[in-house]
Amino acid sequence: MAEAPPPVKLTEKAANRLKNLIAAEGGDDLAFRVSVSGGGCSGFSYKFDLSREEEPSDIASNQHGVKVLVDDMSLLYVLGSEIDYVEDLIGASFQVKNPNAQSSCGCGSSFSV
């Protein structure tokens, strides 16, 4: 049986950046947590954290050497998303390509469904 695809996909660039951040924090046991909260211009905002705690409701996956956690409630809003790390002249940031989002605000940190 083929393994189920991860609910949220990390690009290799995003994973490499995260590995640097995790190393800088000095914790190999840190996982990358993606969550969604209410609020922001478009109604929902992404939240990224480095976390040591794994909850029973988390869906975990390992991608390019990074452990990714998504809680079951946030999952409804981000399922099928891809997280990339984009370096532009204006600045570098993690960006989310979310097939569930109808629109997002100018800075890309919030979205509507």
Binding site: V36, S37, G38, S42, G106
Partner: protein, 290 residues
């Protein structure tokens, strides 16, 4: 026992409570006004918009014991609860319909009783009152006061909604979706800016981008304004014409007074007509300079 005070029971309003440690952070991220201003001595007017900046719900928010109370439209309270739930996610905030416990009242300023209300002369001033909350209308102090009281309270005697409706329409104060059209009317078309309902310096909230853009681009092209009709007001939705062209339409009304969504340039200009009757725009002070 003191003589009951004449007041208007607002049968078309409902009370929701929001409790829990994340209540304020949760609301701050979605509402047009800054929830941190609400306290035992301060009430607030605010709205929840669509991501496109259109009106969904407007309400008054007060603090009562450890809860925030929403004074909202009764007929749409279930939709409001559902919308708040949608944004709540993991935030620790309980949303409860308290309409069985509390009733809502307005005390129009014309019925002023200084011995009870004189200390709440300014818009938004609030205090604990008879196991509930009493506050001066945060949009317009000339409207007088509103109260959220336990159902068993006997301090007020109901004189019907008529005095409230008359005062409201004369001052151009709106009444929820009787005036704005949900998902159509922009926040500033519904006068949220002049009614102290938007904090333009707070961070992101739902619909903030368009609301800020409308504000900083200058003119709002149409607004909800008070009008007087020569005769009884025609029904909601009736077109208002100027030189044979539609420039707006009638919204809520009582007798010959109404609120109309009207193009601002039509305020200066030839006669306005609705259903063959002459229409005059009233000019409360908030309309100056808009």
């Amino acid at each position: 026992m003191p003589t009951p005070i004449a007041a208007c029971k607002l049968h078309n309003r409902a009370v929701l409570s929001i409790t829990g440690p994340d209540s304020r952070d949760f609301l701050q991220g979605i509402l047009t006004n800054t929830i941190f201003a609400v306290g035992p001595d301060r009430a607030l007017y605010a709205a929840l918009l669509t991501p496109q900046g259109k009106m969904l719900f407007d309400f008054f928010i007060t603090a009562h014991q450890d809860a925030l109370l929403f004074d909202c439209e009764s007929s749409r309270k279930t939709d409001l609860i559902r919308r708040l739930m949608m944004y709540r996610l993991r935030a620790k905030a309980e949303i409860t319909d308290r309409s069985d416990d509390f009733s809502l009242w307005a005390i129009p300023r014309t019925e002023r009783d200084d011995s009870v209300f004189g200390d709440l002369a300014k818009a938004g001033a609030a205090k604990a009152f008879e196991d509930g909350v009493l506050y001066c209308d945060p949009r317009d102090q000339g409207m007088g006061w509103r109260a959220i009281l336990p159902q068993k309270a006997t301090i007020f005697t109901d004189q019907g909604m008529e005095p409230y409706e008359s005062l409201r329409l004369s001052r151009g104060m709106t009444d929820g979706s009787r005036d704005f059209v949900p998902e159509k009317t922009l926040a500033l078309e519904a006068n949220l800016d002049v009614f102290n309902g938007v904090d333009f310096s707070k961070g992101c909230y739902v619909g903030q981008e368009l609301t800020a853009r409308t504000k900083h681009r200058g003119k709002v092209r149409k607004r909800l304004v008070p009008i007087e009709i020569d005769g009884d007001a025609p029904q909601s939705g009736t077109a208002i014409e100027q030189d044979g062209k539609t420039v707006g339409d009638i919204r809520s009304s009582h007798k010959n007074a109404a609120i109309a969504l009207l193009r601002m340039e039509a305020l200066e200009g030839p006669a306005l007509m609705a259903d063959g009757k002459a229409v005059t725009v009233r000019h409360p002070s908030w309309l100056d300079g808009l």
